[in-house]
Assembly symmetry: C2
Homo-oligomer: 469 residues x 2
C-alpha cells in the first residue's frame, strides 16, 4: 500500500470515493467478458474535472500509474488494471452530466461518464439525433467511446466517434486541464489535439468531457433484407445503394449463412425471411420526407438490383416493428455465438473492394489448416469491417480448441488482413489484447511516431501503461 | 551558400530540379497576394517520395530548414521562405500523379502535387464526386489542402479536408517514409497520425500522397436565394433547412447588403435577384433523384420559411446556368473587394447559434471605434464561418487606413471572437500571419501540448520553422 497517496486521493475526491477494500474493487478489476482479472491499488471516483486533475497530479507525484475506466464494456482489456496491485483505477462514472445542448449549433456537451444511451436520449428529447450506436450503448460511456474511437452500426453515414466529436476537455498527464470544448465546425488554429486524444485509449490523458455533433432526427427509417448470390454481388449492391440513396443509406450489414443458422438454432422465435440466401444483406435507409418516399426509394433500389442480378430475393420491412426485428436478428449473432460455445473473435477491416477476395482466401486457408472449423462471418460491409469469427469444429472441446489453435487462427486471419492492406482492429481498439500483434504488424515508422508522441506527452509513462504501445 | 548541401540535393533529385538562380527562385519566394517576399537558398523539385525523403535527410544533415510548397495559393504566408536566404523550398508540384482510383471502395490515391481540380476531374471521369471545393481549386494542390486542412463551400455536408482523407504518405523529419495510405474507413490500431499531420502546415513532416474519400455524384444540384430580415432569421432558416433537407443541404452561404452592393457596383452585369434583402442566403440542395424532386424539396422549404417569417422573399434557380450565376455572385465578393481597394480580411468562426450576437456586438464595437468603417460580411453560415472583412471608410486612403488601423481592427474582431468561444482561423490556417495572435490567444495548455509534439517529432526544428508555433 501507499498510504500517502491514499491520503492525497482522499483529499482530492473525498473518502467516500476512494475505494480500497477488495470487495469494493472487484467490479473494476475485471472486464465484463471476464477475460482479464487485474488487481488495483485503489479505485477513485472523481466528481468533477478539477478532481480528476487533482487525482492525476497526486498519482504523478507518487509515481503511480492510472487506468481510466468508463462503463467497462471494452473488448480488448484496455480499461482494467494489471495484476500487480499498484495501479489506480480512475472511474469517470460519476461525471455523467449533460452540460449543454445547443440546438441551433447542433451540438451537445456531455461529461465523460455519461452513458451513450443518455446522450442519445438527451438529443432525442429535443427532436435531434446523436447517431453513435452500438450493442453496449445501455452501459458504455461516451468517454470510453471516444477513448477507443468506437464504431458501430451508423458509421457508413455518420462516421466513427472521432468524426462525431467537435471538441474535448482533457486532463493532461501533468494534471493540467485542456479546455478544448469548442462547438466549432471549422478551427484551423494548430494541431488536431482532439483527434489525437480520441482513440488513444487513455494513454495520453484523461478525457473528461466532449462537445458532440447532433443531427436532425430523420423523418423515417426503413429496413430491408436482400439475398445476394456472392460477396462480389453484395459489394455491387453496396455501390448501387450508395449511388441511388446517397446519404440516405445509413446501414449496410452482411451476414453469412452460418451466422444466421446459429441465430435460428439458438433463438428459434426470431424471423428468418430469406432462409436460402448465400449472403444476407441488411440495408437501412433514413431521412426521406415520409414512409412512402422511403419505401419507393428502397423498392426502386432492390428492383434495379434484382434486374442486375446482384440480388436474388429481398423483403422490405412493413412496419417499424419489422424493421426492429430485422436488426434484432443481426444483433443476435454474437449472443448466438456465445450460446454455441467459446469462439475466437476478430474485428478486421480491409478496403471494401477487397472484401470478396479477402474472405475467399482466408476461408480457404483456415479450411486447409483447420478442417471442420466453422466461420461466423458478419459485419459492417459498408465500412469494410467484418467480425470474422471462428467457432470450433462440431464435437470438439471449444476451450481446448481455443487454447491450442487461437494463435494459429489469428496468424492466418491477420496475415491475410495485412496482405490486403487492412487493419487488425477496425473498431474495438488495441488495449491489452492486440498489443503484441500491433508491435509485430504495424509499420515501424508509425510505431516510432506513436512512441515519440507518447514520450513527449507522458514522459513518466503513468497514463494507462501497457496499452496501445 | 552551402555547396555541400547543393551537391547532395543534386544527387537526390537531379541538377534540373535544384534551382539556385535568383530568376528561377522568385516565383517560389513570394505568395500570390504578394504579402510575403522571402529569399530561398534553393528550390528542390523532387519527383518521387524517395526523392523527398533524400532531400529531407540531406537538409537534416546540413542543419538547413525546409519549407514545403504546393500551389502557393495560401493566404497566411505558410509556404514561402523567410528572408534569410538559408531555407530550402521543397516544391511538390512534380508529384502530381493519380496513383489509383478504387470505385467500389470509393477512394482515390493521389500525390501531394496533384491540383485539386485534377482530383475532382479524375473522380468525375468515373461518375464520382470529390467534394472539396474552394476558390483556388484550379491551382492549389491537394498536399497544400491537407497541410492546411482546407475548408471551402461544401463543408456543411462533407466536412473539411481532414474529414475527406482516409490515409496519408508522409516523409518524417528523420527522412523516413510513413506509408499510411490506407483506404480503410475504420482502423483503430493506434494514434491518429493522419489527423495530426493534416493541418500541421508542414511543421511535422511532408505529406507526399493521400487516399481520399469519394462520393456518388449527386443526381441533381439546385440553388436558391432567400432574403432574411435578420441574422437570427438566417440561423432559423438554417435549422429548418437542415431538418427538412438533411444531408441534401450542401451549401448555406450568407451575404450582407454591402458585400452585394460591392459586387453590383464593380460587376454590374451580374444578377441581383433580391436587391432589398437585409441578409441574403444562398442555399444549395444536392442529391435528389431528379430535378422535380429537388425543386419540390427547396420550394417546400422556402414556403415553410416564408410562413414562419424567417424569409421575406426567395428565388429558386430555373436552370443549371442560373444556379451557377448565383454562386458566381457569391464568389465575386472577394474580387469586388479587391476592386474597391485594400482591405482587412478575417476568417473567423463561432458556434452557429452565436453568430447573430457576435456580429451585432462586433459591428457596434467597430462602428464606435472607427466611424465610417465599411463591413463586408459574408461566408459559410452553415459552418459558423464568416469572412468578416473590413473596407476603409469612403474617401480615406486605404493603404494608410490599413497601416494605422489594422492592429486595432484585428484586436476588436478577435476579442469578440474569443468572447464567443470562436476561432481566429477557421479555414485558412496560421502560417506566418496569425502566429503572434495564436501565441497570445490560444489556450496555454493547448500550446504546450503542441510544442511537446513538435519537439518530439522534429527535435531539430527544421520543418517549416516559424509557422503555427
Amino acid at each position: 500500500m501507499t498510504p500517502a497517496l491514499i491520503t492525497e486521493l482522499t483529499r482530492a475526491v473525498g473518502a467516500a470515493h476512494v475505494l480500497c477494500a477488495p470487495e469494493d474493487l472487484s467490479g473494476y478489476e475485471r472486464d465484463w467478458r471476464k477475460r482479464w482479472h487485474g488487481k488495483a491499488l485503489a479505485v477513485v471516483r472523481p466528481g468533477s474535472t478539477a478532481e480528476v486533475a487533482a487525482v492525476v497530479r497526486a498519482c504523478a507525484q507518487a509515481g503511480v500509474s492510472l487506468v481510466p475506466q468508463g462503463g467497462n464494456t471494452g473488448l480488448v482489456g484496455g480499461g482494467v488494471p494489471d495484476d500487480q496491485g499498484r495501479q489506480v483505477v480512475l472511474s469517470l462514472r460519476r461525471m455523467a452530466a449533460v452540460r449543454a445542448l445547443d440546438a441551433d449549433n447542433l451540438t451537445i456537451t456531455v461529461e465523460a461518464g455519461c452513458v451513450l444511451q443518455a446522450v442519445q436520449d438527451a438529443a432525442e428529447a429535443r427532436g435531434l439525433l446523436f447517431p453513435l450506436s452500438l450493442a453496449a450503448e445501455g452501459s458504455c460511456t461516451i468517454g470510453g467511446n471516444l477513448a477507443t474511437n468506437a464504431g458501430g452500426t451508423q458509421v457508413l453515414r455518420f462516421g466513427n466517434a472521432r468524426d462525431l466529436c467537435l471538441g474535448l476537455e482533457v486532463v493532461t498527464p501533468e494534471g493540467e486541464v485542456w479546455d478544448g470544448l469548442s462547438g466549432l465546425r471549422k478551427d484551423n488554429t494548430g494541431y488536431d489535439l482532439r483527434g489525437l486524444f480520441i482513440g488513444s485509449e487513455g494513454t495520453l490523458g484523461v478525457i473528461t468531457a466532449a462537445t458532440l455533433k447532433l443531427f436532425p432526427k430523420p423523418a423515417t427509417t426503413l429496413t430491408a433484407l436482400a439475398a445476394c448470390p456472392s460477396l462480389e454481388a453484395a459489394v455491387q449492391l453496396l455501390s448501387l445503394a450508395r449511388s441511388r440513396l446517397d446519404a440516405g443509406l445509413t446501414g449496410f450489414e452482411v451476414m453469412n449463412p452460418f451466422s444466421l443458422e446459429l441465430v435460428a438454432s439458438h433463438f428459434p422465435a426470431l424471423p428468418r425471411p430469406l432462409p436460402n440466401a448465400v449472403w444476407t444483406v441488411l440495408l437501412e435507409q433514413s431521412g426521406a420526407q415520409d414512409e412512402a418516399e422511403a419505401r419507393a426509394g428502397l423498392e426502386g433500389l432492390l428492383g434495379a438490383a434484382l434486374d442486375s442480378g446482384c440480388v436474388d430475393d429481398a423483403v422490405v420491412a412493413e412496419s417499424i416493428a419489422q424493421s426492429r426485428a430485422l436488426w434484432h436478428v443481426r444483433e443476435s449473432i454474437p449472443l448466438a455465438q456465445a450460446e454455441e460455445g467459446l469462439n475466437i473473435k476478430h474485428d478486421i477491416s480491409v478496403p471494401v473492394s477487397a472484401i470478396p477476395r479477402f474472405v475467399q482466401q482466408t476461408d480457404a486457408a483456415l479450411a486447409h489448416h483447420l478442417p471442420g472449423i466453422r466461420l461466423v462471418n458478419f459485419g459492417h460491409l459498408g465500412d469494410g469491417n467484418l467480425h470474422y469469427n471462428v467457432q470450433a469444429p462440431v464435437g470438439t472441446d471449444a476451450a481446448e480448441f481455443l487454447r491450442t489453435q487461437e494463435p494459429r487462427v489469428n496468424e492466418i486471419v491477420y496475415d491475410n488482413v495485412q496482405a490486403f492492406g487492412g487493419s487488425i482492429s477496425a473498431e474495438h481498439g488495441v488495449g491489452t489484447l492486440k498489443l503484441e500483434e500491433l508491435r509485430h504488424r504495424k509499420s515501424p515508422v508509425a510505431l516510432t511516431l506513436m512512441r515519440q508522441i507518447k514520450s513527449a506527452l507522458d514522459p513518466l509513462g503513468l497514463m494507462n501503461p501497457g496499452r496501445v504501445l
